[in-house]
């Protein structure tokens, strides 16, 4: 690492705590939007290699629906919302009332479904970031979300470009999205927050842990 301090377990625990607060806000918004009980929690905050990062998202070659946002303001970083095709289809079909919509079949993809997916990204990131902002006092602005249906490696590596200038490892705040349906729960996706290394200090200072 080129950051002038060593990242300890304590730092990662603090990030996990904030991640969980952000996730709780985001889950509430998502549940209201989808009229389903959605649970979001942070199973893992860790410093991982780029290849391990792809594994967290389902493996480099796995085809997913990915929404990407850049963060600007007092801190910079990347945010990804990665969903298996089937989960993304289920969410969007419900939202736009079109049972034929399928991200894996370009002929069925209508603009309204793509917009709905981007809006889902907006709502998730917005509620997550406002919690993070409240907690840290940092001003954070997300860019407009961009959507791609492709391999995990191809999508997520784009958000690692900035990090790769500094390091071969990245702090990943992994948030699991779970749909609670009766007794049945299904893991529906992941939400990743990847701060750029120069922002590590900013975040930890704002939290009073350095």
């Amino acid at each position: 690492m080129t950051t002038e301090f060593t990242i300890s377990d304590m730092h990662l625990d603090v990030l996990k705590e904030i991640g969980n607060i952000g996730a709780a806000h985001a889950a509430t918004s998502l549940s209201e939007l989808l009229q389903r009980t959605i649970d979001m929690h942070v199973p893992k905050v860790a410093l991982v290699s780029f290849d391990d990062m792809f594994e967290l998202a389902g493996g480099s070659e796995r085809v997913v629906v990915g929404i990407f946002l850049r963060l600007e303001g007092d801190l910079s970083g990347s945010m990804f919302f990665v969903l298996p095709i089937e989960s993304a289809n289920r969410f969007i079909r419900r939202l736009i009332g079109d049972g034929t919509f399928d991200f894996s079949d370009p002929s069925t993809i209508r603009e309204i479904g793509v917009s709905a997916m981007q809006e889902l990204g907006n709502i998730l990131s917005g509620s997550y970031l406002s919690a993070l902002s409240d907690f840290t006092g940092l001003k954070i602005y997300p860019t407009v979300p961009s959507l791609s249906v492709d391999m995990v490696g191809a999508i997520v590596s784009f958000g690692l470009i900035e990090v790769s200038h500094y390091s071969d490892e990245v702090i990943v705040i992994d948030t699991k999205i779970v749909e609670v349906d009766g007794n049945d729960t299904s893991v529906d996706g992941h939400f990743f927050l990847l701060p750029d290394p120069p922002s590590y200090v900013t975040i930890f200072k704002s939290l009073g842990v350095m």
Binding site: R70, S76, G153, E162, D168
Partner: protein
Amino acid sequence: MGSVKTVVRVGIADLNIVKEPDTIRTSGLGSCVGVVLYDERRKVAGMVHVMLPDSSLGKGGPLNAAKFADTGIYALMERLKAEGVRPMALKAKIAGGSQMFQFGSSDTVRIGPRNVEAVKQELRRLSIPLVAEDTGGSSGRTIEFDPATGVLNVRTVNQGTKEI
């Protein structure tokens, strides 16, 4: 003998080499570029999964040569030389360099095309002929090279598979 083929995997910002009958593969190339250097006669090949165009972009920390176009291709050539391959015998095939998203910081938006350009420049500098490429566009690619045939298989999600 020779019935067991191994697929050697190359991660992101990583490189490795392979000999017939094994093949070498890297998956999920987006803006990154996969560069294959191979010796047709000796049936030896190497692959590097390049992430950034130039090692001067590295901001401190230990340098991972395989991450950058300039240092990565050179390091791969050195690995092949250590296996007895003559640089004169090397040819190159490349794939990747997509523009996955249309926004980002100004540096990263065009990182795919910049990676492709940097790879070509380094190949020219090392006098390694580029015999085939599948670059650009906006799709991810998984590639696998077979040193026995010299064929690079390129798979995308929406445009199927092609051989170059």
